[in-house]
């Protein structure tokens, strides 16, 4: 019997060895180094464009962002002109379900709490809201705003305002100055997944630049985001 148990141990050891070997084989990391890397882009053949940014449309820097009258989750309609003594407007196209939008909810709350009193309020607009999509419906937006305790307005974009601004993803920020001129377009910061590991607070830096009468630099940043539903 003792012999048997030793025998069994051997089996277990042997089989676990085989499994480990197999797993290691699956965990090879990275492409095999094939000598010199071929990127970054070799100059000479630039991308053939099928659609330019101009074709996507949207505002250029210095253009005046349109005001609107959109339905707010707290009830009633909301316009940028409802904010008295605004020094600027943090217009954010966002939505309920996009993981990248969700990761920024707390940071937007923080930004609003910090800057609303200084004249820069967050104005959140949901371009993906639709009564057909129960996760992005007005009721779902109300629920989300309540859960997260949004201190800012959260509006239904039923006027295709996103298209005038040129918002193509969520979240997508447009920082307007007091004259509603577009001064910054892009990301909130440089780390969607982890607020602690952010090293560039693009939006906050842009607000600070406006506060001292300077132009934000950079004024255009990009981030991965969910597509704005264009239908």
């Amino acid at each position: 019997m003792k012999k048997n148990s030793r025998f069994f141990t051997t089996i277990v050891l042997l089989s676990s060895f085989l499994i480990t070997v197999n797993t290691n084989a699956q965990e090879r990391n990275g492409p095999s180094p094939q000598g010199k890397r071929s990127g970054p882009p070799p100059s000479g053949h630039s991308p053939e464009q099928t659609k330019t940014l101009e074709e996507v449309g949207g505002y250029k820097f210095g253009e005046v962002g349109t005001d609107f009258k959109l339905k707010n989750v707290a009830g009633g309609m909301f316009s940028l002109s409802d904010i008295k003594n605004a020094k600027g407007y943090i217009v954010v196209f966002t939505c309920n379900e996009c993981p990248f939008a969700k990761m920024y909810e707390d940071r937007l709350v923080e930004l609003h709490n910090k800057y609303a009193s200084k004249g820069y309020s967050v104005v959140a607009i949901n371009p993906n809201s639709s009564s057909e999509n129960e996760k992005e419906s007005f009721e779902a937006m109300q629920k989300r705003a309540k859960e997260k305790g949004f201190p800012f307005v959260y509006l239904v974009d039923d006027g295709k305002i996103y298209s005038q601004y040129g918002a193509v993803r969520t979240p997508h920020v447009f920082l307007l100055d007091k004259d509603r001129k577009v001064q910054y377009i892009g990301a909130i910061d440089n780390n969607a997944k982890s607020a602690e590991n952010v090293t560039e607070t693009y939006l906050e830096n842009a607000i600070k630049a406006l506060e001292i009468g300077e132009k934000p630099n950079p004024n255009l940043t990009k981030a991965v985001g969910c597509p704005v539903k264009t239908s």
Binding site: F7, S38, V168, A192, P227
Partner: protein, 172 residues
């Protein structure tokens, strides 16, 4: 008793071996789908350029992006019909979801094309390196060989749309 244990040993061993054999014999593309690597952009960038004559199609997508998931079958069909073209699906999902969500999602959709996961949070630093025309919204597709390159932002309406872009890029 001993006989039984021996049988178990053989069973274990044959499991181990048959699995290894299976791995080596299986079509490489299927093995790739079952084996999703996580890259940062520096690694991924190596896959975005080629010196060979081959045509490459790289699609950036994520499970949470509905239009992305909807167009995945076009890439799969294209890849099946054009085995000489390298199709790479770059998922921007979370590494923690690979086993629990990503693999089941690919299996359900019958996707056997190569899938890698790009985990690099500072997307502003690399979006332009994929293509300066890319806004960052998903899905996004690039087509290239060693001479030509083009891109498509947004989902393809049909397999033919995808074929058109590839043919337009490479054959003209």
């Amino acid at each position: 008793m001993k006989k039984n244990l021996l049988r178990i040993l053989i069973l274990f061993l044959s499991y181990g071996f048959s699995d290894t054999d299976h791995e080596s014999q299986i079509d490489s593309s299927i093995a790739n789908a079952a084996d999703i690597q996580v890259y940062d952009f520096n690694y991924l960038e190596l896959l975005l350029y080629t010196k060979s004559e081959k045509t490459y199609v790289v699609n950036f997508w994520a499970m949470w992006c509905a239009p992305c998931v909807k167009e995945l079958p076009f890439f799969q069909t294209y890849s099946t019909n054009n085995p000489d073209v390298e199709v790479l699906l770059v998922s921007l999902d979370f590494p923690a979801d690979i086993e629990s969500k990503l693999k089941p999602c690919l299996k359900k959709k019958g996707i056997t094309s190569k899938v890698v996961l790009l985990d690099d949070p500072d997307s502003n630093s690399w979006i332009d390196k994929v293509d300066t025309n890319w806004s960052g919204a998903l899905p996004f597709t690039i087509v290239f060989d060693n001479k030509k390159r083009s891109f498509h932002e947004g989902a393809f309406e049909s397999l033919q749309d995808l074929e058109n872009l590839i043919n337009k890029t490479i054959n003209h």
